[in-house]
């Protein structure tokens, strides 16, 4: 290097180095004891998190004689109230997953990590666990003191109580998860008789242990180092995304507002550190957007509370885009291409699911033409084709269906036409069709098979096209 760096370059380098020194990354060596303060976003967080109550209580809903929502894996069925979805309809699940994934992208592009801050099970369970911790061990200061204190009866009692409650929640989580896949009442019965299947035991154990470890010990470390969504979502945030942000123009330079220290140029930030104290991941929002921020907006509550106390307007930390902070105009949401495109994909997926659910046939027919032989000449000179009809019955009862066919003139079904089909399964049957040879003007002609239930009050029907094959002309 022959050229010496200019003083301004050196100054810039100094700034960078200083920033790097101050940059603090918590790799798990420090337990975050976040302060709890009330406020608007705290309330919203409780409400949004309570959606997980569904996990615990959803399985107890009944519909007719069975669980309302049940993933019946052994029988390859999914019950959703009065709808029964069989593996044949599972393409709808792919659309649902597409919808949810794209929705995650759309929401993140619009308003940052809403999922992480308000809905994610890791956030919600950690929130519950730390709430219990506070009830057992007191405020963050008391907790830090307790952590450092030597073990005595008092400390042991508090810790035991906390861990017991945590473990109970973990076990309940494990059982509740399994309850979606098997009848919940039978599950509890088998559980108390210790007669669960090994699959159930292992799943409950796995979910219990993971819940306990992740919510009690891993906490924000999971979001920082393990979770891929955190990284994917971080990549989708840009200058137009509305996120919890510190208004540095208004806040800086910080001033502690000591008596007789009124600074004309001081910003609104009083450096009270409340925004850091309440942060469940231990980041300082005033450093700008960063990977540790799960965008739970609790710092907004804390800052607003302080601003109220010192008589300054709220919103020093608020939901705002980087463009907004800089005073630049933002495109309206409906003009932002990625929001529009993701919304269209979501709409397409929803329409697909809607079409799928509305067009689920109660009975479904598939037709396979026999390949060996394609046709057989009969003694009377007619040509016979053999088909395998597969009839899927999604009704709740066994039914009898009548098989008919339309196609070449003179067509006749020579096999039995009434067939009993069991519910929830595919019944295959061989069907023989004969056509007089003189009617076979071309080698291959279309033939349509119809099935119709004969004994139920409301007739269900389905049809499927195949071909009738004769000798080469």
């Amino acid at each position: 290097m022959s050229k010496q760096p200019s003083p301004s370059h050196l100054a810039a380098l100094d700034d960078l180095l200083e920033e790097a020194e101050q940059w603090h990354v918590n790799a798990g060596d420090e337990i975050i004891h976040a302060k709890r303060m009330g406020g608007k976003w705290r309330t919203i967080k409780w409400l949004s998190g309570s959606i997980w109550l569904l996990l615990f209580f959803g399985p107890y809903l009944r519909w007719n004689d069975r669980q309302a929502i049940l993933w019946d894996i052994p029988n390859r069925q999914f019950h959703l109230f009065n709808i029964t979805i069989l593996p044949q309809d599972l393409w709808m699940l792919a659309l649902l997953l597409l919808f949810l994934a794209i929705m995650l992208f759309a929401i993140t592009a619009f308003s940052g990590r809403v999922w992480c801050g308000f809905l994610c099970f890791q956030t919600v369970w950690t929130d519950i666990y730390t709430w219990i911790e506070e009830k057992c061990e007191g405020t963050p200061q008391q907790r830090r003191k307790l952590d450092q204190a030597p073990m005595d009866l008092n400390k042991f009692g508090k810790k035991l109580g906390k861990h017991t409650l945590w473990m109970l929640i973990a076990i309940w989580t494990g059982i509740s998860f399994v309850a979606w896949f098997t009848d919940v009442y039978l599950l509890w019965g088998d559980l108390f008789r210790l007669q669960l299947s090994s699959t159930a035991w292992i799943t409950i154990l796995l979910f219990t242990v993971c819940t306990y470890l992740l919510a009690a010990f891993m906490r924000e470390q999971l979001c920082m180092w393990v979770c891929p969504y955190a990284r994917i979502q971080g990549a989708m945030v840009d200058v137009t995304t509305i996120v919890p942000a510190y208004d540095f123009h208004r806040g800086e330079p910080r001033s502690r507002m000591k008596k007789g220290d009124a600074d004309e140029h001081a910003g609104d930030c009083v450096d009270c550190n409340q925004c850091v104290a309440v942060c469940p991941t231990g980041v300082d929002i005033r450093r700008g957007q960063q990977e540790g921020c799960i965008m739970c907006a609790l710092c907004i509550d804390a800052c607003d509370l302080v601003m109220d106390k010192i008589g300054r307007p709220r919103g020093l930390i608020r939901y705002e885009s980087l463009n907004g902070l800089e005073g630049k105009a933002c495109l309206p949401v409906y003009k932002q291409p990625r929001i529009v495109i993701t919304s269209l994909i979501m709409l397409a997926a929803l329409l697909g699911i809607f079409y799928g659910l509305s067009s689920i046939d109660a009975i479904d027919l598939k037709v396979l033409h026999a390949r060996q032989p394609l046709y057989v000449l009969q003694s009377d000179g007619s040509i016979q084709n053999k088909y395998t009809l597969k009839i899927l019955n999604k009704l709740a009862d066994d039914v009898t269906v009548k098989i008919t066919a339309t196609g070449p003139a003179g067509l006749k079904i020579t096999s039995r036409q009434l067939l009993a089909v069991q519910h929830g399964t595919v019944t295959p049957t061989s069907v023989f069709v004969r056509v007089p040879r003189k009617e076979l003007t071309v080698e291959s002609q279309p033939i349509i098979f119809h099935i119709e239930t004969v004994d139920s009050d409301k007739p269900f029907s389905s049809h499927r096209e195949s071909v009738f094959i004769g000798p080469k002309r």
Binding site: Q378, S379, D380, S415
Partner: protein
């Protein structure tokens, strides 16, 4: 190699190349070592529980006595247990009774398909479509009768077609006339000259006065649309009339032999096969 270590305090091994490239003695990460120890323990447990390396002729059986063949047999026993429900019912039934029960005949067809593929498919085709010289069994024409008993008999005892050769007895034109007459029969044509030859050569003795055949001896029905020997038609008929079927004196005679399976297969299997064959075309 330097005599005096120029990089003290960094835990290197003393191996130094090119002045500054040196080998450090960093310990393997603890998590890695722990996994490795756990793997060693796992291997020990595995060796104790399962049959592993050979000692002498046979590997030690392992604590659980597990073997692959045992697991296979258990799996087969499971399948047999599922089948037993149907097999027990079928055992006491005749073929006709099985056919009358849609559920049992479906089971029979599904379970005996492999046997058909092994023993019948090579000549009659995987779907009963036949092959040159071997009859189609997916149609409604039965040389020896299409009842279950008759099909069982065909499978168990085999069949041997028989038709004398007429090449030495008849002139070429006569054979031609006969062949045309026989083909015309299926199309409903009349031919007095052909009919006279048909009577004079005692064709009626086996094929019947009206040519409808005789299932007791496997004489084909000449009036239907299906031909025993592909591709059918005048040329085919001429060949059959001239050289006969299984006629020992004529080396060009057609072959029509169905082997007997009575010793190879049990009567239970033959009964199931008969049901399968019966349901191939109806």
């Amino acid at each position: 190699m330097a005599d005096k270590n120029p990089f003290p305090g960094e835990n290197n091994t003393g191996h130094i190349w090119d002045d500054n490239i040196r080998e450090l003695d960093n310990p393997i990460p603890r998590w890695w070592m722990l996994s490795w120890y756990a793997s060693c323990v796992w291997v020990l447990i595995y060796v104790i529980i399962y049959p592993s390396f050979p000692i002498g002729d046979k590997p030690p059986p392992g604590l659980m006595g597990w073997t692959q063949i045992k697991e296979f047999k258990e799996g087969m026993a499971e399948v047999e247990a599922i089948r037993a429900k149907y097999e027990d019912q079928i055992k006491g039934m005749t073929g006709e009774q099985i056919l009358a029960d849609p559920g049992l005949s479906d089971y029979t067809v599904a379970s005996v398909k492999v046997l058909f593929g092994d023993h019948c498919g090579p000549c009659h085709g995987s779907g009963g479509q036949g092959a040159p010289g071997f009859p189609v069994i997916a149609d409604d024409v039965w040389l020896y009768g299409g009842s279950i008993e008759k099909i069982e008999e065909s499978i168990a005892k085999g069949r041997r077609g028989m038709m004398p050769a007429h090449g030495s007895k008849l002139a070429a034109e006569q054979i031609d006339t006969l062949a045309n007459y026989v083909v015309g029969m299926a199309e409903g044509k009349e031919d007095p000259a052909g009919k006279a030859l048909f009577m004079a050569n005692a064709c009626f003795a086996c094929h019947g006065m009206t040519g409808t055949g005789n299932q007791a001896m496997g004489a084909v029905d000449l009036t239907d649309s299906v031909w025993r020997f592909a591709p059918g038609g005048v040329e085919s008929a001429r060949q059959t009339i001239a050289h006969g079927v299984n006629f020992p004196a004529d080396p060009e005679s057609r072959e029509a032999i169905m082997p007997a399976f009575g010793e190879k297969l049990s009567s239970h299997e033959i009964k199931k096969l008969a049901v399968y064959v019966h349901k191939l075309g109806q």
